[in-house]
């Protein structure tokens, strides 16, 4: 399979603060790769360099797709307040004929459950709804590479599951390559074909893990799969490198409990 994205010895320094300290990895076309790492380690900076918004201090990023879409971590500030929800979703589609633009926006808004909010202004919506508008805009664009920065951080657990499955379905249907930054270890295992684990600042690659799960995922059975539980513990352990041992078993038990709560509710 061909590569969609190649990152070679990428480093970035803000002033005298080294945010990224030499990252190398590739993402194959059609792959969904999750990036996890401690808060402030440089994940957003990584996405900004990949999307070309920030010129990295060193190293190279090569992109092989033509259409790039980004869901920013600060989603509410990335919506145009003078445009309606529909106008926002249509913004990247300006070059298309009007009818197709309309149809695509309507479809994407339907996907994220906001079909009824098309005429509202973004600031009239809740934070979680705004986040879904940003997701709809990125999906409607049908990018070849989709970069998402903690895209499901502000939605409730139920909606989060739905959006995760939506992402899996859409990227399968449109053969989209996806790079998702998440702070949720479970999510990274559930969504990913691969997981990139980053260390604290400056960000370095701690591990590049294949996810040994079948392509078809299911919110209930996948999350109780032995391979899922095992990989989750492994990622958790990796994220705590060098820190006083966190009780992974206890943490996993608590997670299982909270999961069964959300599933049963």
């Amino acid at each position: 399979m061909s590569n969609m994205l190649e990152v070679a010895d990428l480093g970035h320094t803000y002033g005298d603060h080294e945010a990224i300290g030499g990252l190398s990895f590739t993402v194959r076309a059609g792959e969904l790769v999750c990036v996890v790492g401690p808060s402030g380690c440089g994940k957003s900076t990584l996405l900004r360099t990949i999307s070309g918004l920030v010129a990295p201090s060193r190293g190279d990023v090569s992109l092989h797709g033509s259409h790039l879409a980004v869901v920013f971590q600060d989603y509410s500030r990335s919506l145009f307040p003078w445009l309606s929800v529909q106008g926002n979703v249509e913004f990247p589609l300006r070059s298309l004929p009007r009818a197709e633009r309309r149809a695509r926006a309507a479809e994407a808004l339907e996907w994220v459950g906001l079909g009824g909010a098309a005429r509202k202004r973004p600031w009239q919506l809740s934070g979680g709804m705004q986040q879904r508008v940003a997701i709809a805009r990125a999906l409607a664009y049908r990018p070849s590479l989709l970069l998402m920065d903690e895209p499901f951080a502000s939605v409730d657990a139920q909606t989060r599951f739905e959006l995760e499955d939506l992402l899996l379905r859409v990227r399968r249907e449109h053969d989209t390559t996806v790079l998702v930054v998440t702070h949720d270890i479970d999510e990274s295992v559930y969504l990913g074909d691969r997981i990139l684990v980053l260390s604290g600042s400056p960000a370095r690659l701690v591990a590049d893990l294949e996810v040994p799960l079948p392509a078809e995922r299911d919110q209930v059975t996948t999350r109780t799969d032995e391979a899922f539980v095992e990989l989750r513990s492994k990622v958790a352990r990796l994220l705590n490198v060098g820190k006083p041992a966190l009780d992974v078993e206890k943490w996993a038990a608590a997670e299982r409990e909270s999961l069964s709560e959300t599933v049963s509710s």
Partner: protein, 247 residues
């Protein structure tokens, strides 16, 4: 509604005070005609074609001045606000020109442009430029960089960012600038007319009424109408802002 009622009460109080002061023996006779007289005269004047043509002349010149000021100040503001080199290069000139009161330029303008409407329009444009220009520049400073990043990521070029992101995002500030500019332009416009920079207009009407025997009731009719134009402009523009750029 309560605010509206209170406003009406305030106006009523003001009129009563004016009426009392106008009829009091403290002021020389006819110096301050009371509102009962002034509004009677206002009704008479509003049916007089010559008075109406004065009002129309002022309003028309004012609208022309505002449109010209917008056409100059908004593009200049966009350039100054988005190209730091131009902004720094022009700072000294702007800092020098801005504090000059437009009224101080009246003699110069009369010599250069004569007594036609060009003079009052030019000076009103000069006065109206600044609030629009500075609000546009300020708006670009306030532009959220993430909106620009969003547009750029989705393949929007420099011009696209300017017209699809910077301009709409600046609109609320620009409209506030236009509202301030309209009031300033009205003041300058009537001042120029008063100072004989015109043969027609509300200011000219006021000057004429004052000369000779001195019809103070007509002077006040002119004043009241000029004030009413200011209020209408201000409220109209505020309504436009609320209706179209409510974010």
């Amino acid at each position: 509604m309560r605010a509206f009622t209170r406003g009406l009460l305030g106006i009523a109080g003001f009129l009563v005070l004016w009426e009392l002061l106008g009829r009091s023996p403290l002021l020389p006779a006819h110096a301050l005609p009371p509102p009962s007289v002034v509004f009677g005269e206002l009704v008479t004047q509003l049916t007089s074609p010559s008075f109406i043509s004065h009002v129309v002349a002022t309003v028309l010149a004012l609208l022309i001045a505002i449109v010209i000021a917008i056409a100059i100040a908004v593009p200049s503001g966009l350039v100054l606000g988005s190209v730091p080199a131009v902004r720094h290069g022009t700072r000294a000139v702007i800092e020098f020109l801005r504090p000059i009161p437009s009224v101080a330029l009246i003699p110069l303008a009369l010599v250069m442009l004569g007594f036609g409407p060009e003079t009052k329009i030019t000076l009103a444009v000069y006065a109206a430029l600044w609030p629009i220009l500075f609000n546009t520049i300020y708006a670009l400073d306030e532009l959220d960089p993430l909106l620009v990043d969003t547009a750029r990521v989705f393949g929007t070029g420099r011009l696209g960012v300017l017209f699809l992101v910077a301009l709409p995002s600046a609109l609320p500030f620009v409209l506030t600038g236009i509202r301030l500019a309209a009031t300033t332009a009205l003041i300058v416009m009537v001042s120029v007319e008063l100072m004989a920079g015109s043969q027609i207009g509300i200011g000219y009407f006021i000057m004429e009424a004052r000369s000779g025997p001195g019809r103070m009731d007509q002077v006040l009719v002119g004043t009241v109408v000029a004030g009413a134009i200011g209020v209408l402009l201000n409220n109209g523009l505020e309504r436009v802002r609320r209706r179209w750029v409510a974010w």
